[in-house]
Amino acid sequence: MSEMLANTSKGHIEVKNFSLDYETIEGSVQAVTDTQIHVKPGEFVSIVGPSGCGKSTLLNAVAGFLKPTTGIVTVDGERVNGPSAERGMVFQQYSLFPWKTVRENVEFGLKMRGMPRSQRERAARTLLGLAGLEAFEKHYPERLSGGMKQRVGIVRALATGPKVLLLDEPFGALDAQTRVIMQQILTNMWQRLKISVLFVTHDIDEAIFLSDRVYCMTARPGSIKAEIPIPLERPRQQSMMMSSEFLALRRGLMSLIREESLKAMGGEINDMGMQGLNIELHGHSLADVI
């Protein structure tokens, strides 16, 4: 089990001079610009930022789904050229295969690798046991709760023993209690597997509670506004979230993000105001409207 999963001292993510534009009818739009981040082997790093700042775009580029416009993404010195089983991904919408049972979902990566059936069944059972899901191996995902689905999603991504685990707001759709439990499970698995994690969230508490380091992004076009080390000792308990240390980190991050959110929303509000004016003025003089 451990030799299948443990990837000690591997999984060094490096993103350099990164920018990503996408094309629209009006021209190219910058989603992310001038960004450098890195994740050391075995490190847990989060990216937070206002919505629409491009943090998911950045993560999708690390996964290999998007190509950077400039710059380079490497894992252990190798350039990322497309999705691969070396970089496991967990999605907010769970994205389990509805036509596969829980165990078949977990087995999928091993099947793609050509592992014989009996062997991968055994591996999947062991992993499901670790996540407390052995009783549900024959269930179809539809019948599971959100928390269970995402446990399957995490186990499925870990089954192939990836070097890094990428998570895109994985607990965003869960209720508060389930989310706390899931954070604990993720922490346990991460500590056991010594895997590098890149975690995207908009939840500041979540980012601080889980991470060794947090990157805070600016409003669009996104870039890194700040890098905050989280020196809280491990293992972390829920009660730590009330400590002065935690609250200080939270206040700091909060004000960084508020600045950026206001910047992002300010833009939108101005745009809307202008549009409103245009409509009202259409065919009338300003005096008519007033």
């Binding site: 994205s95 990566g109 192939t160 439990i181």
Partner: protein, 287 residues
């Protein structure tokens, strides 16, 4: 640890397990299936009411805009049914129609489903075939009858061809629709688990399209019967459609209704078969 927590909360809600007597079990079963039982009961009553109205309209030979003077009564149809059951010719009509449906529909499925899947995945194939399909699709299968007679050397082949045409387009169009709706996130999930194009096709696109493929098969089967009956009435020598038309020519009025009911039962039976196949192939869909 969380599993224990969840299991614990479930246990707290369920009442303590006590041995159930047969009576309480029966009562629980009744309560759980109440709405289904109700629907069945009302369905039976409404069918009986239909038969009763039919009986009354025909025995009193009602003429009110429509004329029931020559319409056979349910009892007359039942009499001709018992007679037909001993008539090998009637059974042969049914058998032949079923064979035509089987061949025509199977060909449509064997060609339509893979073609739809390939068109959904390969843009060039789509761009080449789709315009032709769109032009041919609105032509009702019945309109193909004269052309089919010219195209095929035997009557039998042209009837099967028309049945095929009727079911082909619904199957093709629904398969295409299904593959266009596949959630791209599932494709990505497969990709970052190491799946390549061929595996993604087999493990994601195909199963994800199955619900729509089966919609297409169900619709296609319905249209196959419509086309078959029309073709048999026009150009057939055997088959249940021919039987019904012949009954009219021979003034066997009870046989007209018998033929119609037989067509209805066969159509219902074949769509139930497809639904059953769908449940077998997609166990994750049946709750």
């Amino acid at each position: 640890m969380p599993a224990i927590a969840e299991a614990g909360s479930v246990r707290a809600v369920t009442p303590p397990a006590t041995p159930h007597s047969f009576g309480t079990l029966a009562l629980r079963w009744y309560r759980l299936n109440q709405s289904r039982l109700r629907a069945t009961a009302i369905g039976l009553i409404s069918l009986l009411a239909f038969l009763l109205v039919w009986h009354l309209l025909t025995t009193y030979r009602v003429v009110f805009f429509v004329r029931f003077t020559n319409v056979p009564s349910p009892l007359a149809v039942y009499a001709s049914f018992t007679q037909a059951m001993h008539d090998p010719k009637f059974l042969m009509h049914i058998l032949l129609s079923c064979r035509r449906i089987f061949i025509g529909f199977s060909l449509a499925a064997i060609i339509g489903v893979p073609l739809g899947l390939i068109m959904g995945r390969f843009k060039l194939v789509h761009e080449v075939i789709f315009p032709v399909a769109e032009v041919l699709r609105p032509i009702p299968a019945i309109a193909w009858v004269p052309m089919a007679i010219m195209l095929w050397p035997t009557n039998e082949q042209s009837i099967v061809f028309i049945t095929f045409l009727g079911s082909f387009f619904p199957i093709l169009v629904n398969t295409l629709h299904g593959i266009s709706l596949v959630d791209p996130v599932l494709v990505r999930a497969a990709q970052c688990l190491g799946a390549r194009e061929r595996s993604i096709f087999r493990e994601v696109y195909f199963p994800a399209s199955l619900p729509h493929i089966f919609t297409g098969l169900t619709v296609g089967m319905g249209v196959a019967w419509v086309s078959l009956i029309a073709a048999e009435m026009i150009s057939g020598q055997y088959g249940i459609g021919y039987f019904t038309w012949e009954a009219y020519s021979l003034v066997q009025y009870a046989d007209i209704a018998l033929g119609m009911i037989a067509i209805g039962v066969l159509g219902l039976g074949s769509s139930l078969l497809i639904r059953g196949a769908g449940q077998l192939v997609m166990p994750w869909r049946s709750t």
